[in-house]
Amino acid sequence: MKFTRRDFLKASILTGATVMVGNGFPILENLADAAKEEFMGPLPDIDVGGLIRPPGALPEKDFRAKCISCGVCVNVCHVMRYDAIAVAGFNPPSPPFNKGGMGGLFSKRGLSGILSFGTPYIKDMRDFPCALCMECPRHCPTGALQKVEKEKVKMGIALIDFNLCFGWNGDVCLSCSKACPMGAKVFDFYHGEWGNQPYINENCVGCGLCVKYCPLGGSAVKIVTKKQYEKIKVPYLNEFKGLLTMSNEERYNVVYGQNLPQIMARGRLVEREYR
């Protein structure tokens, strides 16, 4: 029997169909999974305010101008086994709680989304936070990332969602402070009847290790850029002070009425942290 091109095409289509039925098109399924949001992230009202750049990055505009998208930082991060840095597309999803997602070919961020195409950012802090090994600024050939000390890195700032944090809702957790590479410089604790309430101050470098090690499903910590922090600073601090000065009864209503049901619902989905 002669095996013509037509036969080959038929055979390949048949094989393709079998594979598709058998495995359910693994790649597309993977994409669909990635696009699916498991949890609302912490602080859903607050936008990340841009891209979280690798440590030692210049201010946003200078960074974009200098970066030639060579991929040294991305691959150095891969070599160091942290895999934190990804290349931004036209419409990069906001870290830390958009795990994957197609992002979309058309920019929702307008011109800044288009201009930041190809530049590195920390994509998924929930699974791949920056470990502050400081290898990428050491090796960046263009000077878009500049050598700094660990303590002076300004990638962003971590905000704790007081409605989701165990420590603010009658528990003792300490996970974020244990994960933090800066430790006592960054964390303030307000011990009280309602838990050991942690607060992250402005010395935070924004590495995202607390985001990863938060035991709550979907994390109770969010990293925003320093610029965005200046915008939302006042309401955030008001909420913080309000909780501390609240009377016991009011606080009881907040914790048992609003917060704990949310936390319990997330607790049922928390297995992903222990896979």
Partner: protein, 298 residues
């Protein structure tokens, strides 16, 4: 330029022993050459590529891509055109970037535009496409000097947008390495954006389609990286040298050249300094005198 029977007949009429018959094989397949420059060239290209691929196995031999990379742990390198774009976009002069571009300039002052022929992986992909097409494409009569206009235009766009425009969006090198690393990251479920993969795959495949219809239009005219290295050809130590007495006028060297370099008018001169010569050595191999007439020399 088709290699047809006419050219061979004229060669015969000048009483020159006929060249081994052309078989199917790209740009007039060079057979039975005692010089193995093509093989050496591919060896160099693949070894550079393999050193780059080692980074995905977490080995720090050559990290990054051909636009900018980190060699043997501490040597930082930047492509010259990327450096120019970055410089114009940021309007800021840093020693870091200058130190990174200096080794590259030093290398190509020695080797001229050898990057295109010996290191660029697209050259290999284009050759594969050329083999499939058997060199039947249209060769548009565009002077390669338009390429410098395009390069200057891209530099101005970079300055206006304050983003390295060609390097970040259109460059074949950036997109190829983005595609490689993105593919590996995607396969191992590491953070990567599929849109970046799609974009890079689109750029690379459209370049291959362009190559199918217009052979080497990208290399000869459009590619600004190659044009920048082409400037080094004017001062490079490596060049093509001729011994005119040996020439029988068969024109085979020009027929096998896929960069459309006119060699025969330059035979009187001591050396060829064409901006489009990529030192691939096909003319040296293709020449019937087996390396006596055309030589690559420092």
């Amino acid at each position: 330029m088709n290699i047809d029977s006419q050219n061979l007949q004229t060669a015969d009429s000048r009483q020159i022993p006929p060249y081994p018959p052309f078989t199917k094989g790209g740009h007039g397949g060079i057979k039975n050459s005692s010089l193995k420059l093509s093989k050496l060239r591919r060896f160099v290209m693949f070894s550079v590529l393999i050193f780059f691929l080692l980074q995905f196995f977490r080995v720090k031999a050559l990290v990054g891509g051909l636009t900018g990379s980190l060699a043997v742990w501490f040597v930082r390198l930047i492509d010259v055109f990327a450096y120019l774009e970055s410089l114009l976009a940021s309007m800021d002069f840093t020693t870091t970037a200058l130190l990174a571009v200096f080794p590259i300039i030093a290398i190509y002052i020695i080797f001229g535009r050898a990057f295109c022929g010996w290191i660029c992986p697209m050259d290999y992909l284009f050759e594969v496409i050329g083999r499939a097409r058997n060199y039947r494409g249209i060769k548009p009569k565009i002077t390669p000097k338009i390429g410098y206009g395009i390069a200057v235009g891209l530099l101005i766009i970079s300055g206006l947008l304050s983003v390295p425009f060609f390097t970040n969006y259109l460059s074949h090198l950036t997109n190829l390495f983005r595609l490689l690393s993105g593919g590996v990251f995607f396969a191992f479920d590491l953070p990567v954006e599929p849109t970046v993969l799609l974009f890079s795959a689109g750029v690379i495949s459209s370049l291959l389609i362009l190559e199918f219809f217009f052979p080497r239009l990208w290399c000869r005219v459009l590619c600004s990286v190659g044009k920048t290295y082409g400037l080094f050809n004017k001062i490079s130590l490596l060049r093509l040298k001729f011994a005119k007495d040996e020439c029988g006028g068969c024109n085979l060297c020009e027929q096998v050249c896929y960069m459309d370099v006119k060699i025969t008018p330059h035979l009187d001169q001591p050396a060829l300094r064409d901006i489009n010569c990529i030192y691939c050595g096909r003319c040296v191999e293709g020449c019937k005198t087996k390396g006596k007439l055309i030589k690559m020399k420092f």
